[in-house]
C-alpha cells in the first residue's frame, strides 16, 4: 500500500480542463457580438487604400454602398479585367447608379433621406476614370454626400511595392 502511494506522488497531476468550455464560450460570445454579417457578397477585389485623416460613419443604416474593383477570378471571363461597379449583389454599369440611388432613397423614411451618404468602397488598384464617372452620376441625382471608405493607416502603405 505504501509502495503504491509513493509511486503516485512523483507524477504530475493532469491539468483540469473543466473550465475549457467556459473559455471557449466566452470567445464564442465575443465573436457573436462583434460579428457583422456581410449583407452582400463581393464579386470583386476590394482592398481599400489607407488614410489617417478619417471620419467615422455613424449611422450605418443611412449609408449606401457602391463597390468598385477588378472582378474576382470566377467572373473574369464574363466581365474582363478592368474595374467594375458592384451594386448590392450584381455587377452594374455606370448608368445603373442613379436607379440604385433612387431605390435606396425610396426604401428609407422620408425625413431621413437628406442624411443619406454614399460610401465608395473602391479597390486601391482601380483607376480614377470609373470613380469619376460614378461621382458624375451621383451629382446628377443630387447624392452629394460621399465618403471614400478607407482603412486606417499611414498613406505610405498605399505605395506600390
Amino acid at each position: 500500500m505504501s509502495k503504491f502511494n509513493k509511486k503516485k506522488k512523483g507524477e504530475l497531476p493532469a491539468v483540469n480542463t473543466a473550465s475549457l468550455p467556459d473559455i471557449v464560450f466566452m470567445l464564442l460570445f465575443f465573436f457573436m457580438v462583434a460579428t457583422v454579417m456581410r449583407d452582400n457578397e463581393l464579386k470583386i477585389k476590394n482592398e481599400l487604400p489607407a488614410a489617417d485623416q478619417v471620419e467615422k460613419l455613424d449611422k450605418k443604416d443611412l449609408v449606401m454602398y457602391i463597390y468598385l474593383g477588378r472582378p474576382n477570378d470566377g467572373f473574369k471571363d464574363q466581365f474582363g479585367e478592368e474595374a467594375r461597379i458592384q451594386l448590392n449583389d450584381k455587377f452594374a454599369e455606370v448608368s445603373d447608379v442613379p436607379a440604385f440611388i433612387y431605390s435606396e432613397r425610396e426604401s428609407k423614411r422620408e425625413e431621413l433621406r437628406p442624411f443619406l451618404t454614399t460610401a465608395l468602397k473602391v479597390d486601391k488598384e482601380a483607376s480614377m476614370g470609373i470613380v469619376g464617372d460614378v461621382k458624375q452620376e451621383l451629382r446628377k441625382v443630387n447624392a452629394l454626400k460621399i465618403n471614400y471608405t478607407t482603412r486606417i493607416g499611414d498613406v505610405s502603405l498605399n505605395k506600390k511595392n
Binding site: P21, V24, L48, P49, A51, D52, Q53, K124, K135, Y148
Partner: protein, 198 residues
C-alpha cells in the same frame, strides 16, 4: 416504488460543440471598416455667372496617369505636399479687408490672401490609381487639420481633433453648446475649400 435517478448528461462534448460554433463565427466574421474621408460633391447646376477667383488664391494639384504629382506647375513628392499646402493656406498675403490677422504664414503677396479665399483644386486623369488619389486627398485634409489644430490650441488650449472627439463623447463634462460654437469658429477661420475637378 424504487426511486429512479435520472442518469447525468455527459457534458464532455460541450467544449467540442462550442469550438465548432466558435470556428464558424471566426470564419464568417468581417470586421467592417466604416470610416473614411468624407467629401461633398458640388451640385450640378451651372451657376449663371462664373465666380472670378484670382489665380494666386488657387493651389492647383495635378495627378497624372503615371501617379506623378504636379503642384503649382512644379513636380513634387507626396511627402512635401502637406507642408506646401499649409504654406499656401496659411500665407495671409491679403491687405485691407482681405487681411488675415491670425495667419502665421510668410505673407507673400503672390500667394493666397487668407484661408477663406484660398482654394485647393485637385485634378486627376482617368488613369490615376485610386490609392494615390486617396493619399493626396489625405495629405490635403491633413494640412487643414493641422492648421485647425494649431489655431484651436492657441484660442482654447485644446486641439481641434480633441474638441471634435469631446463633442462626440457622451461623458464629456463641459458645455457642448460652447464647444460647438468654438468648433464652428475654427471651421470658419480655416474652411475646407477643396475642389475635385473632373
Amino acid at each position: 416504488m424504487a426511486k429512479r435517478s435520472s442518469p447525468e448528461v455527459n457534458a464532455g462534448s460541450m467544449a467540442d460543440i462550442a469550438f465548432l460554433l466558435l470556428i464558424f463565427f471566426l470564419v464568417t466574421t468581417t470586421i467592417e471598416t466604416d470610416s473614411g474621408i468624407s467629401r461633398k460633391l458640388p451640385p450640378i447646376e451651372e451657376s449663371e455667372e462664373d465666380v472670378i477667383i484670382k489665380q494666386k488664391n488657387i493651389f492647383t494639384v495635378l495627378l497624372n496617369g503615371k501617379d506623378q504629382l504636379l503642384v503649382e506647375d512644379e513636380v513634387m513628392e507626396l511627402e512635401e505636399l502637406r507642408d506646401a499646402a499649409i504654406k499656401f493656406l496659411d500665407n495671409g498675403g491679403g491687405s485691407g479687408e482681405d487681411k488675415c490677422d491670425y495667419c502665421k504664414g510668410a505673407g507673400d503677396p503672390k500667394s493666397s490672401d487668407n484661408p477663406d479665399k484660398a482654394i485647393i483644386s485637385l485634378k486627376n486623369e482617368r488613369e490615376t490609381t485610386y490609392a494615390t488619389y486617396i493619399s493626396v486627398q489625405n495629405e490635403l485634409v491633413a494640412a487643414y487639420t493641422s492648421l485647425r489644430n494649431k489655431r484651436a490650441e492657441e484660442l482654447f488650449g485644446v486641439s481641434y481633433t480633441e474638441m471634435q472627439k469631446n463633442y462626440k463623447d457622451v461623458n464629456w463634462p463641459g458645455s457642448k453648446l460652447k464647444l460647438k460654437e468654438n468648433i464652428t469658429q475654427i471651421k470658419l477661420e480655416y474652411p475646407q475649400k477643396l475642389s475635385e475637378v473632373q
